[in-house]
């Protein structure tokens, strides 16, 4: 899956979670590593706007959501949540691709988009991933999804030169020797 090329320059810096930020609507937002809040994440995806689904995820029905989350909220993947008051409003994940790199996905509830939460969540995830030893990250995004592509570019991802429906973007979190700019 990861026969991609990666930028030579290390992306970042990123702050590691936990953090507390105000979103652009002035709402207090906590960026934290996932710590067993399984039902709160299920609730976020249960309420998820189907128009914001990407390439078949998240699944539509609750049992599909649970099955999918059991896969990606396991021990090895890195997961970061954005929460406001008692609700999870965003979730980002790094899942090992079996080839030494990690696939990234991020979801923000439609009611909380365009408020800077995605950027804070991405930076928190990449900071947590780097701390966990992740070196290379890739993601795919529908090529017409300009807001998402812009966000990914702003936090350090670079597009691959390929022409599919999905655009693949990659970022390097540490140099091949393992040293990052934040050691």
């Amino acid at each position: 899956m990861s026969s991609y090329s990666y930028p030579d320059t290390v992306a970042g810096p990123y702050e590691r979670p936990p953090q507390s930020v105000l979103d652009r609507e002035g709402r207090q937002t906590r960026i934290t590593r996932y710590d067993g809040e399984f039902e709160a994440v299920v609730a976020m995806y249960d309420a998820f706007d189907p128009a914001d689904r990407a390439q078949g995820i998240p699944p539509i029905d609750t049992s599909g959501i649970r099955e999918w989350l059991e896969l990606i909220l396991g021990a090895e993947p890195t997961n970061v949540l954005a929460s406001q008051e008692d609700s999870v409003v965003g979730h980002a994940t790094l899942v090992p691709d079996g080839d030494g790199a990690y696939e990234l996905a991020i979801f923000v509830q439609s009611s909380h988009q365009e408020a800077g939460i995605g950027t804070a969540l991405m930076k928190g995830l990449l900071g947590a991933g780097r701390a966990a030893g992740v070196e290379r990250v890739w993601l795919s995004v529908e090529r017409w999804n300009t807001p998402a592509i812009t966000l990914y570019q702003n936090v350090g991802f670079r597009p691959q030169e390929d022409g599919g429906f999905e655009r693949v973007m990659t970022a390097r979190l540490a140099s091949p020797g393992g040293a990052s700019s934040e050691q």
């Binding site: 899956m1 990407a54 390439q55 078949g56 995820i57 999918w68 896969l71 990606i72 993947p77 994940t93 899942v95 090992p96 691709d97 079996g98 696939e103 996905a105 795919s140 599919g164 429906f165 999905e166």
Partner: protein
């Protein structure tokens, strides 16, 4: 109905073939399997054709298996249109490690170019 299944050797292609074989038994479709050169999957066209023959024989379905040289998507579309197939069937893509569907390059070309009905099997 005249149905053309295109496979290149990837798992989603074999899944599409199996499902089309099942369906052709129910619907008495006339089935042809076209093996294309798929740069992203490793088995050779000869061994893919052999695997397809075996699946057809196991199911007791009579179908021609042909091999298409050259650009896979355009060869499939050209064959389907020249020989007046009613439907072109392909694998609908693989899932990424975290479950995103990603459409293969052959499927993408066929969807954008074919004037016959295209079915992507998931």
């Amino acid at each position: 109905m005249k149905v053309l299944v295109g496979i290149g050797g990837s798992a989603d292609g074999f899944n599409a073939l199996d499902r089309t074989i099942e369906r052709s038994q129910e619907a008495a479709d006339e089935l042809t399997v076209a093996v294309v050169e798929n740069p992203t999957s490793s088995p050779s066209p000869d061994s893919v054709a052999e695997m397809a023959e075996r699946r057809l024989a196991d199911a007791g379905v009579a179908a021609d298996v042909v091999q298409l040289a050259g650009h896979p998507g355009s060869e499939l579309v050209a064959m389907a249109e020249r020989q007046q197939y009613d439907q072109l069937v392909l694998g609908g893509g693989e899932s990424s490690p975290l479950g995103k569907v990603s459409l293969g390059q052959i499927a993408e070309f066929v969807v954008l170019n074919a004037t016959v009905t295209v079915t992507l099997i998931r």
